[in-house]
């Protein structure tokens, strides 16, 4: 992860409609970058280009370069499945596998990657699940209900379960698409604290409508408008002395 993520001349379309236009952005490793911008500006599409999730929609298309630690995610021979293991994603609405237990939700990704290895790895699997749940700040709350359905947890717990599921396979990057918009303030606070802890080991790109959340958690903030990257800078700069008048107008609420 020495080089983080380098996005060069990224363009993306849904059919004939261009969503992302000529984005260049460098994301430092083990940092938190917030993407802000009005609805429909392309910020969700942008992060979905970072782990090749955009192209799963029929008619969707991407051009440009996304380098993850110098490896082109859109280069020939790049394996989307492998990429999505390295670049995890957490969505707006918590989406645990509804029929699976808490344990199996976290173990699901691990079982795929550990498949074919010796059965002696059962203890190893258990240790990895526990480590992921601890990292997600959920272990103490679910340690005695690992066998219960993941869908039985509260919304905030489900979201942290999804983060644990991402963390279990030891990704280099986690993309978060409005991870707190369906949560109450206390659950939001827990996720934000978790994000702050995770940034020591993983690169985080978070899309948020909540500008105070971007201000609280992000090292750098990028402002998008109409599919373009208008401005990126230290979060403190963006919220005190933005360079572009359009950024100023958006963060001060003069449009949007």
């Amino acid at each position: 992860m020495a080089d983080g993520i380098q996005v060069k001349q990224l363009n993306a379309w849904f059919g004939a409609t261009q969503i992302i236009r000529d984005i260049d952005l460098a994301i430092a490793p083990v940092s938190i970058t917030a993407i802000i911008g009005p609805s429909g500006c392309g910020k969700s599409t942008f992060v979905r280009c970072l782990n090749r999730m955009h192209e799963v929609v029929p008619g969707a298309r991407v051009s440009g370069t996304v380098l993850l630690d110098s490896e082109d995610l859109y280069g020939p021979g790049a394996d989307p499945v492998q990429i999505r293991r390295r670049v995890g994603m957490v969505f707006q609405k918590p989406n645990p596998f509804p029929t699976m237990s808490v344990f199996d939700n976290v173990a699901a990704g691990l079982r795929l990657t550990m498949r074919g290895r010796s059965q002696g790895s059962k203890a190893e699997l258990r240790a990895k699940v526990e480590a992921a749940l601890r990292s997600a700040g959920l272990w103490d709350e679910v340690a005695d209900r690992l066998g219960e359905p993941g869908a039985g947890l509260s919304g905030g717990q489900q979201q942290r379960l999804c983060i644990a599921r991402s963390l279990a396979v030891n990704p280099e990057v986690i993309l978060m698409d409005e991870p707190c918009s369906a949560l109450d303030p206390i659950a939001t606070l827990k996720i934000e604290e978790l994000i702050d802890q995770l940034k020591r080991r993983v690169t985080i790109v978070i899309v948020t409508h909540n500008m105070q959340q971007a201000a609280r958690v992000a090292d750098r903030t990028a402002f998008m408008l109409d599919g373009r990257l208008i401005e990126v800078g230290a979060t403190q700069e963006i919220f005190t002395t933005p360079g572009d008048p359009r950024t100023e107008e958006y963060v001060t609420g003069k449009f949007g």
Binding site: T240, T252, G253, F255
Partner: protein, 263 residues
């Protein structure tokens, strides 16, 4: 509490601050309300400078005519200035707590907090002058040239306060920077009065009066400094950079610096 400054907001008679740039999507309702609150708060803070002008005019009048009663009124009316400080301070706290202003709005709120503190200090300097007036008795051994120099200082201080207000209301950095030029004249007169007092002669009563006049000059000089400080806030609101217009500890420095804590 918060309604107090709204009621007074229009009495300041200051021009409305420049309207925000027109935005692609138009003002959203919630933020439009916030912008109105912010504009009212600014008008109320700028109105504090009008209170200072009243206090300054009366204390200079009291000084030139040795009017002890008028000086007493100036002291009593400092409560109005202090009240204005508290109202604006409370309004700023409310805006910070309830509206979480950012970017240009945040810079304006921070600058208002500085400005109202400078206004409060200017009010105190008017009180300091007023308190000197009764100390000399009804027929003090005045020297015309000293009183004339003080009157010129007073006129300069008044002009600086007026200009600081206009610079802030109009976000006029050049007008704000020009305050430094005006302030040099006040500083020069301050030194001149000091020299006059030293050379005022042997009569003990006259020397005591001259000492008091040195303190008056000092208070006027400080009012000028506060006006310059308000000018520095104008530059901060507009550019996002804080710099001292004149820094006596680094006279050759241009004073250009990034705001503290920024990267």
């Amino acid at each position: 509490m918060s309604s107090a400054w709204r009621e007074h907001a229009d009495s300041g008679g200051s021009p409305a601050p420049p309207a925000g740039r027109s935005a692609p999507g138009g003002l959203s309702q919630g933020r439009a309300h916030f912008q109105q609150q912010l504009q009212r708060l600014e008008a109320h803070a700028l109105g504090g400078l009008d209170l200072i002008l009243e206090q300054l005019d009366r204390v200079l009048e009291a000084l030139s005519h040795q009017d002890v009663e008028l000086a007493q009124m100036v002291i009593a009316d400092d409560d109005r200035v202090d009240g204005r400080y508290l109202e604006v301070h409370q309004g700023i706290l409310s805006l910070l707590a309830l509206q979480a202003p950012v970017a240009g709005d945040l810079r304006l709120v921070a600058a208002l907090l500085h400005m109202i503190k400078h206004i409060e200090r200017m009010g105190d300097q008017c009180v300091n002058i007023a308190k000197m007036i009764p100390l000399s008795g009804h027929e003090p051994p005045v020297r015309r040239e000293v009183l004339e120099a003080l009157a010129r200082m007073g006129a300069c201080a008044r002009s600086e306060v007026t200009q600081a207000k206009a610079a802030f209301a109009g976000r006029a950095v050049d007008l704000a920077e020009d305050l430094v030029r005006q302030d040099r004249e006040i500083n020069r007169l301050n030194r001149e009065i000091f020299r006059m007092a030293i050379e005022i002669g042997d009569d003990p009563d006259t020397r005591e009066w001259a000492m008091h006049m040195i303190l008056v000059a000092r208070a006027l000089e400080r009012i000028g400094d506060n006006a310059v400080d308000i000018g520095e806030q104008v530059a901060f609101v507009v550019t996002g950079l804080f710099r001292e217009f004149s820094d006596s500890s680094h006279p050759s420095d241009t004073g250009l610096a990034r705001s503290p804590g920024s990267e």
